[in-house]
Structures are given as C-alpha cells and as structure tokens.
Symmetry: C2
Subunit: 453 residues, 2 copies
C-alpha cells in the first residue's frame, strides 16, 4: 500500500505561533550575566538582538501572531506535507501508524527557514542592515542567507572550517543567495585569532563559530546576531510545524502516541513536540522522544548545569544539558547535531522526565535513512535520519506489543547536500563512535560555577 | 510584493494524460528500421519496450487514462505548485505577468519522475524484472532509480563517464535508491568496448550511453530499456505538467501569451506546452519557446533529417532536428541539455514554425539563475535556468512594448546537485561557448541517407 499525503489547505496555515512558556510545568532558571552573576535583562541583549525578538524570548503570551509579511513567505512552501507512511508500515510489519512531517520542501531544504524568515523580518523592521551568524554543515547558514536576501539584509556566515572545506555545496548555496561565508576560526575576530594562535590547524566547532558571530555583531553598530536553534524565540517560530501536524492529524482522526524529533539545539524536536504539551498536561498519553548521536550525546550523557553557549565564553550563561562549552565533536561524525548543549526549555523538560532522550551511533542511523529512501522515496538529511531510526525502533516495539500506536516524526530536511556521507556509509567507511565518558568529564570540569538550583 | 502560489487541490490532479498525436497539424514521418529502410512496427520494438508503452508511442487517442497506481505515487508530490512571480516582475520592472511551474518538488528533484514512474509501472505489469538506461548528469538516472525501487525492479544506469566522476552526488543518489551505476563507455557492452578500443580516454556522451543501455536490454531476456525524453510516450506522460498549469491558470483567470521550456530531448518543454496546442489551433494567440544552450544548438543550428538516436547506430532512425549522432558536447559546458537530437514531435512543430527556438551561452543563463534564486528563493537546475533566461528576455520585451502578457515557464528542477557549476560561474570560470558551425557540418555528413520528405 502506498504512502499518502494528508492535505492541509493554504487557508488553514496557522496564524499564530504557540509559545510553551505559560504552559511549562517548571521554568528554567534565568539567563545569567557571566560577569555579574546576575540575571540579564533586555538591555544586555539589545546589542545583539532586535527588541521584538528579545520580547519573544521572555514572553508569557501563549499565542503570538505571525505577521502577514512572514505568512506570505511561509506560504511559498507551507503548509508542508504530513505523510501517512503506509508503505513503510507494511515493510516494517508494524501495527503502528507512522506519520512523518516533511520540512525539506522549503527552498533551503530544511525546517530552518521557519525561524530565519521571522528573524530577518524583525531585524529589518528595526532598521538592522546586516546579520552575523554561525553554521556547521550549513543548514542554518543557508536558511538565514535566503531570509536575509528576501528582506534585503546583508549576511555574514562563520562556517565551521572543516565543513567549509569538506561540504562546499552548502557554502555555494549561501553565496548564490549573496552571503559572505568565512571559514571559522578566522582572523576577523578576537575570538577567532585567539583560537588560531593556540591551534593554527583548528578544524573549528559550532561553539567557536558562535563566538565569532556574536563578537562580529556586538562590535558593529549596523549588525545583529542570529541563532538557528536553542533560544526560546527560535523554538517559538518552529511551533508552526507541530501546529500544522495537529490540524493534519485532526483531519484524519488520529492522536499521536509518540512524537519524535532529532535534537541538536532542540528546535526541530520542539517545533513538532511543544504544541502537543497542553494535551500531555491534560492527561493524554503522549510520549516525546528527542534523538541525538552518540558522538554528541548532550541529553543522554551531559549534565544539567549553567554553561556558556559558545567556546570563547562570550554568551550569557544558560541552564541546560551540556557536554561543556569546549566540546569539539569528532571529525568522523557525519550526522550533524553537533552542538555541545541543548535548548534550556528542552533541557528542563528532559530533566523533569517529560521529554525522553535516546542516542544512536551513525551506521544504524544511515541504514534507517537508506531504507526510508528506498521505501518512501525521499532521501533524508542525516540529522533527520536520527528521528527515522527512533521511529523504526518504536514501530518494531509496537510489532512486539501488537499495539496500534500513532508514531509521528519530524523529517526536518532532505539530504541532497549530504551525499558524501551516504557514499561513506555505502562504502562501509563510517565508524560507530561513542564520545567517551572521560572526555566529557574533562570538559565538564570547566563549567562556570553557577548554582543550577 | 511577494510571489504567490496558485493552489490546486489534490482532487484536481488530472486523471488522464494528453496525447498531442490526433491534434498534430502535420505528422512526422515514420520511424525507420536502419537495416531494411522500412517503417518499424511494434514487433521490432518489443525486445526493448513493454507493449503498453509501444501502444502509447503510436496511439491516436487524445486522452489516455492514468492508472490509479501511478496517480497514487504522483500524489506524493503532485499537483506541483504554480507560482505567480510578483516579486520577480517587480525586480524586472515588467508589465508582464510571470508564472512558473515548479517540478523540483519530486523526490528526485525534477520533472523526470512523471515518466519514470509510468515506465516502471508498465514494465512491472508486463513481468519485466530489470531496466537499463543511460544518464548524463544524472537527473534521468536518479528518477528511474527511484521509480524502479518503488516498483521492485532492478535498475542499471550507464552514466556518461565524465559526469560519473565530476558529479558523484547524483550517482550516490542512484545508489541509495539501489541502482547499479556504470561509467560509460564501459567494457560491459560491445558498443562500449568498441568506443574504448578506439579511444580509451573517451569522456562518454549520451549517444554512447544510450547504445550501451539499448544493447544491454536487447541482449537480456529479463531486461527492457527506458528512455527519459525524446519519445512520444515520454512526452505523453509529461503532459501532466501542462494540464495542471491549465487548471491553475483557469483558477486565476489568466491565459498564457507565451509558454517557455528548456529543451534537451524535449520532454519538459513539451510537457508544459503541448496541452495548450489545441488552444493555439483554435486561434488563440499563444507562443511556444524551446530554449537550448549554444553549445548543443540542436533546434537552432541542427538540420531536420532522419538520424540515429545513439552513437553506435543501434536505434531506429527518427525524423528530427539533429547535430549528428556522433556529436559530443564540449566538456566546459555546465548547463545540461546535451543530447544531439530532439523529440520528433517537437522537431516537426519547430519546422512548421509553431514552436520557436532560442539558444543562449552559459554565463547569461547562470546570471539569470542567480538573480532568480535571490528574488524567488529557489535555486534552479542549470537546465531549467535556460527557460528562466528566456522568460527574463520576454519580460524585458514586454517592458519595452508595455504589453501585459502572461509568461509561463517550466522550472523543471532544482540545482542542489549542480552547485559546482554555480561555483564555477561565481568564480568567473565559465566560458561562453558556441558549438562551431563547421564541426556541426562535419557531423552532419555522417547522417544516414533517408529521405525526410
């Protein structure tokens, strides 16, 4: 039986984002200024973010209207399809229903434009001329490049150096959209120069690239900084994913038993899952599963603590699961999701036992991706393939229990820019690596001394 | 003003393909057996095509029902969006309305699955176990790989050797979908071995790869051959594009003044244009523009003659515009559309003056592609960018005349696997090459001696 699309009419596109803040069962501690040890206020963030995003970061409003200008751009590819994977269910022999939400239909090929469009819009409204950001493999950098071009902003992307050289095609994509792309660490910032003086051959990391982009924004009047995950306002914008899924499932008369998303900084997972939190709170039997690689096992092996968001210790301190801000993921890891920490909201929900976490090595993840591509047609991004692997395992569990659960996962992007990783997998060249506990312990020793409460 | 999508409900997906044959103002001459010089019949084609496709190749029925199994797969990404490019119109300052049909939303990223799905279906229905085909840059090979995997067929793709090595990622895509991919010329076939013995370093060509795939199919009982363009049944399957556009334009109350498609073998151009031929015949003022590269100027510089479809002279002879069957396009050409000939149906309509043709060098084509990507968001395939360039020129003509014409072009695919070509363009490394008239004249001397009438 062939997989079928669950349609959602353009007129049914959600008109407001869902903000989980008023529904949080427990709130994360405040963001802390690393110098003063005091909670930071809007003025502390004003040099790097526009005021409207700072307001969204701390808003307690449950619904925040999506401006018409943003809806107009969303409508170029949204509502995105939800697929009932009949074919996959048949192949797995599961009694479970499997649904996947496909975010790869955006021009940048992932869910990231849901927030990049919003961020570029608010920055442009407040007179900002230029945005600086970081990117790893380039999914976020390309999404922000697209958004900046559409709103007439300049964009500079600090791209993790090893990816800049190994994955040139997302760099090309950013350049086609008019962005300046700089391999990080670079000599453009104090943070970059500091790293290079200690380690001229540094391959870079997201933590380092964030330091460079934040410094760039903080030191230029015309420039703000933009982050593609982790922060509350980013998760807010991604809620459009789950809101659409809710409406799509309503149309077919199904309710989710388990919602699954891959988890790097947390935005694609939260985008799918958070809009269903009120149902969970109201007593419905819904599980939330965040999936990560064993080579960057933040939720499964990290600690819940205050930490910096970047390597150079320039960002405020946030309460979150972390592997330590000087964590550098191994070069052999092909699957993305390499950030050392996780969104404070996702983190505290995991600590409270509301969000489960699971980690996989990369060969089973790529095997699931290839099976999925052969059955469903779409070649998934390696990041998204983590969610696929977890969905397979849930489906196989249902095969054992015989329960007809409803499994929903976020297929957050396509893998068109990751074919070298598929090549390596098919050639048997990928290593099943687990980041060693003792290296994590080493990094965690350098955590700032702030009581997490 | 932002570009807007013209919606078409899934229930409005066309249920039959449009066959132009009964509406042709003049018919091309018959396909000729190269040995006997006589028209070929179904039995001659039976070793390489399933009977249902042979029937479609010569059918005079105007409408051919699309089997439900094919519609089920089409529905995974169809109807595809038609966009009214308000933003682009503004940037070009044209009074014209510009629409583009976006076929890049298929899992293979182009319009090609419209026919690969149909071909795999009919082959599977008739008990075929394996398909052999050729591919240049890989757009067709990946589309057929996807289709074969969905219908449980094996698939072998002879891929032009220079592309096999220079464009590894479409090869990876085919392998992820389970196909065997062989660089052509290869030692697997007499045709390949013959070329290699004369020229061990041959970069290959579509004409050579076709010879290999046809020989593979003709010499194995379990195997048929599949072609991604040129033939009548391929153009038939692609008519779904234009049929949807017709319905979408009807919804917004517009009628096309000019329909534009890039033209390699002719299927994406014909897919958009042919369903509008009855309107043209009924007296409506519609122009049809086929766009090709100056480095493979089949319609603009070739001759209308009987020629082989392949280099090794294994295929039947067809009446078409051709550059000669031993044509090998220059390696510097980055824009695809490299086939030496064109669909017989498109060819005769061009000879009759019903289809116009225009050719561009590659720098202006890539410049148009980059402008398009920056304004509309989508990064186009270089093939499709030829249509964009022609649409720009039509829009600028309307700016001069002040006429509010309706320009519609087929954005047949995305450029995610062509970023190296964009890199080369941005670095100023692309040459504006025009295939020299004297080399064409040389190739044309080797045409078979068959009266074109």
């Amino acid at each position: 039986m062939i997989t079928k699309k669950v349609n959602l009419d353009e007129r049914e596109l959600p008109k407001a984002w869902y903000n989980i803040m008023p529904d949080m069962p427990v709130m994360p501690g405040p963001t802390i200024h690393p110098g003063t040890g005091q909670p930071i206020g809007p003025d502390d963030l004003a040099p790097i973010f526009p005021m409207r995003l700072i307001e969204q970061e701390v808003s307690q409003e449950r619904w925040i209207d999506i401006p018409e200008e943003i809806l107009d751009i969303y409508r170029l590819w949204r509502p995105t399809p939800l697929y009932r994977a009949y074919h996959l269910e048949e192949v797995l022999g599961t009694p479970a229903k499997i649904y996947y939400k496909y975010e790869g239909v955006s021009p940048a090929g992932s869910h990231k434009p849901n927030t990049s469009i919003a961020q570029a819009y608010y920055n442009q409204k407040e007179g900002v001329k230029r945005l600086a950001t970081e990117t790893g493999a380039g999914q976020w950098g390309s999404a922000l490049s697209l958004a900046c071009k559409l709103f007439g902003l300049e964009c500079t992307v600090y791209m993790v150096k090893v990816s800049y050289h190994q994955k040139p095609y997302r760099r090309s994509m950013m350049q086609v959209w008019g962005s300046e792309v700089i391999p990080s660490p670079s000599d453009r910032t104090n943070a970059g120069r500091g790293i290079l003086s200690r380690d001229p051959d540094s391959p870079g990391s997201l933590g380092i690239a964030i330091s460079e982009a934040v410094e760039d924004a903080a030191t230029r009047e015309d420039t703000k900084y933009s982050l593609g995950s982790v922060l509350n306002h980013v998760l807010l914008h991604q809620s459009i994913i789950g809101l659409e899924v809710k409406e799509q499932l309503r149309k077919v008369g199904d309710k989710p038993s388990v919602l699954i998303g891959s988890c790097g900084g947390g935005s694609n997972f939260a985008g799918l899952a958070f809009p269903f939190m009120p149902e969970k709170a109201a007593g419905e039997d819904i599980r939330f599963v965040a999936v990560e690689p064993t080579s960057c096992p933040t939720l499964t092996k990290g600690v819940y603590a205050y930490d910096f968001g970047d390597t150079a210790q320039m960002t405020p301190l946030m309460p979150m699961y972390t592997l330590g801000h000087d964590f550098v993921p191994p070069g052999i890891h092909a699957g993305g999701l390499r950030y050392h920490a996780d969104s404070p909201l996702v983190s505290i929900l995991h600590r409270e036992g509301i969000v489960e976490a699971v980690a996989y090595t990369q060969n089973p993840v790529f095997q699931a991706a290839v099976t999925f591509a052969q059955v469903e047609g779409i070649i998934p991004a390696p990041e998204s393939a983590h969610a696929i692997k977890a969905a397979f395992d849930e489906a196989l569990r249902c095969k054992e229990t015989g329960k007809e659960e409803v499994i929903v996962f976020n297929l957050s992007g396509h893998g068109h820019f990751d074919m070298a990783a598929y090549d390596a997998f098919l050639a048997g060249e990928l290593e099943d690596y687990t980041y060693p506990q003792e290296k994590i312990a080493e990094s965690l020793k350098k955590l700032p001394k702030v009581d997490i409460g």
